[in-house]
């Protein structure tokens, strides 16, 4: 019998760190020095909150809105987080983009942004729920029932937690139900250009198409 899927409620408190970037040069320095949790917060965590801004990455949003550096902002925003399995890889990419941009455009490195960038990090608190799924239909029911924070935890932050290029739902569907096809389709849902509610709808539609009734 398949190992059941247990839903976990994850909540986050935002801790404000002491690093502040006023310029792109300072941004590059702090990207190298800040905590892994901060890199995580401003890239993965922000997927939970950016419904209205252009980019889902806080770093990219600041580079565009405060520094008016659109090309660099696009570079930073379009790193495919699904291809990243460690925060050090992500840190390297982001800091590298800024350093290369400043090297090519030295004046941009010292220009003050309209407002500083404040580095934060999320402190995670998880509570395993008494909510289990043993079939696709039960998985869909749970996803429908649980909050968006739980969806975010299982579908987005799980990639880093497990250092997997997948998510909790795909992982379970593949390993416990043997449905590699469905796992792949779930993993293909775009988490960057959608709201979390939109992601939930797509996950449910994909599960329904895959046989969850």
């Amino acid at each position: 019998m398949a190992e059941p899927f247990q839903f976990v409620a994850a909540s986050y408190l935002i801790r404000i760190r002491t690093e502040r970037a006023q310029t792109l040069r300072e941004m590059a320095q702090h990207l190298r020095g800040t905590s892994d949790e901060s890199i995580f917060y401003h890239t993965f965590q922000s997927l939970e909150t950016h419904h209205y801004s252009t980019f889902s990455s806080d770093f990219a949003q600041w580079v565009q809105a405060a520094c008016n550096e659109h090309a660099l902002a696009e570079q930073m925003a379009t790193v495919d987080l699904r291809g990243i399995v460690s925060l050090s890889d992500l840190r390297e990419k982001l800091a590298g983009f800024v350093e290369e941009h400043v090297a090519a455009n030295p004046a941009s490195g010292e220009r003050k942004g309209f407002e500083p960038f404040h580095f934060c990090e999320a402190v995670e608190m998880t509570v395993p729920l008494d909510d289990w799924a043993s079939s696709l239909a039960e998985l869909a029911d749970g996803i429908r029932r649980q909050s968006l924070h739980t969806l975010h935890y299982h579908f987005i932050t799980s990639r880093l937690r497990l250092k997997l290029e997948t998510n909790d739902f795909s992982h379970w569907v593949q390993h416990s139900l043997g449905r590699s096809d469905l796992a792949e389709r779930l993993n293909g849902i775009d988490i960057y250009t959608n709201t979390l509610e939109g992601v939930r709808e797509e996950v449910l539609a994909t599960l329904a198409a895959g046989g969850a009734q």
Binding site: A9, L13, H118, C120, S147
Partner: protein, 412 residues
């Protein structure tokens, strides 16, 4: 001096009442977090039981904390006129106003804190002190069993350094500090957490109202419901720039036959209110379309009706802690024109959930724009409502406190 008072007879709120607003899943998650804190005791302390955003938050939050199993007491420190004059000067200086304090002010501040401290007991597992007025109570932390938290509701981004450096050693005695925006922090040696202030969608100030009641309130105040109504809800405080709102209204009035409503009251810890009210009346002159309403602190339903009956809501603050009236307005799906200060940009995302401005002229221009584009005004009102639902409701605040206490309990 009177003894510090415990605030009683709060609303009998239940977390379950919010299920229609935030959903069963979110309610269940909050209950799960609370279970791990069941039976723990918490004390909240501030300087006023009525008037102002802090008292409003506590009035709703404390019953919810009790409902989820945390035994919570809310106590208010007492002080004389001199103490509150000093704390008002501190408050203004922390918002960036000039400060010319006298040495005896420091003594008055410290003595009042010490007198309150002597009268209070702190045997709870968690103590949360709100704002600078009672900050010195932390001297009771040594030897007390609890974890101490300082909740700062003030925009410290332009803080007067003399006042801040006087307060800082007190702040750094706490286990953690809470700020409404990252921009308000000062690189403290203790953990700093982001706590957005929040509104209560079920409170008299925010709940849905019958259209008939809204019409009645407008009529009682002599406001014409048929013509555009521009409203700022704020206590009469120079930092809210009510005179600037009158100036913006005059610029709009050249193009639109509109009315202005300035409604608010003076909090019991704000001795400047009367003077500011007089300045606003002078600025308004004899214009019958300017309605200056000095309302008592219990006028929540009337304020709700004024907001819902308005065409556009304004918050033209010069400095702001967070500006809860903005979230209130957004919750009511109203187009908002607000200054880009303090915590307002967290609530108003320019052209998406409202309009951000930086001057009297900018404020007037955006009001004119919204009056000329009602469809756009309606759309940003809808987005604003959604933004508040996700971020600025009291249930999110409750959850943040539970998380904080769990983190402190685990010593992280």
């Amino acid at each position: 001096m009177n003894a510090p008072t415990t605030v009683g007879a709060l609303s009998p709120l239940k977390l379950a009442d919010y299920a229609p607003v935030i959903g069963d899943g979110e309610i269940a998650e909050i209950q799960h977090l609370a279970r791990a804190l069941s039976g723990k005791r918490l004390k909240m302390v501030n300087s006023t039981a009525v008037g102002g955003g802090v008292a409003e938050i506590l009035n709703r939050l404390v019953p919810l904390l009790n409902d989820v199993g945390l035994t919570t007491r809310w106590e208010v420190i007492t002080g004389g006129e001199e103490f509150f004059a000093v704390t008002k000067a501190f408050h203004n200086a922390l918002h960036g106003a000039p400060y010319q304090g006298r040495p005896e002010w420091i003594a008055a501040f410290l003595n009042t804190n010490e007198a309150n401290r002597q009268r209070m007991q702190f045997d709870e597992e968690f103590v949360v002190i709100h704002d600078p007025q009672p900050i010195g109570l932390v001297n009771s932390r040594d030897g007390a069993p609890g974890r101490w938290v300082w909740r700062c509701h003030i925009d410290l981004s332009h803080a007067n350094q003399d006042v801040w450096e006087f307060l800082r050693p007190f702040v750094e005695k706490y286990d953690a500090s809470l700020f409404s925006s990252p921009a308000f922090t000062h690189g403290l040696s203790i953990p700093q957490f982001l706590f957005y202030p929040t509104i209560d969608p079920l409170a008299d100030k925010n709940r849905d109202l019958e259209p008939e009641y809204i019409r009645k309130v407008l009529e009682e105040f002599g406001i014409d419901a048929k013509r555009p109504i521009i409203t700022q809800i704020s206590r009469f405080d120079r930092l809210k720039d009510p005179v600037g709102v009158v100036q913006a209204y005059r610029l709009v009035k050249k193009y639109h036959d509109c009315q202005l409503v300035l409604a608010g009251g003076g909090a019991s810890d704000d001795p400047e209110g009367e003077a500011v009210l007089a300045e606003v009346r002078e600025a308004a002159g004899k214009d019958k379309d300017v309605h200056i309403l000095n309302l008592p602190p219990w006028s929540h339903s009337e304020i709700n009706a004024l907001q819902r009956g308005s065409t556009i809501l304004v918050q033209k603050s010069l400095r702001e802690g967070f500006g809860l009236t903005v979230s209130e307005a957004l919750w009511k799906k109203k187009p908002v024109v607000a200054s880009a200060v303090g915590g307002i940009p967290s609530q108003v995302i320019h052209k998406l959930t409202g309009m951000l401005v930086h001057s009297v002229e900018g404020c007037a221009y955006q009001i004119r724009y919204l009056l000329s584009h009602p469809d756009f005004a309606r759309q940003i009102g809808e987005y604003g409502h959604q933004h508040v639902r996700e971020n600025f409701l009291i249930t999110a605040n409750l959850k943040r406190y539970l998380l904080l206490f769990l983190i402190l309990q685990r010593g992280r």
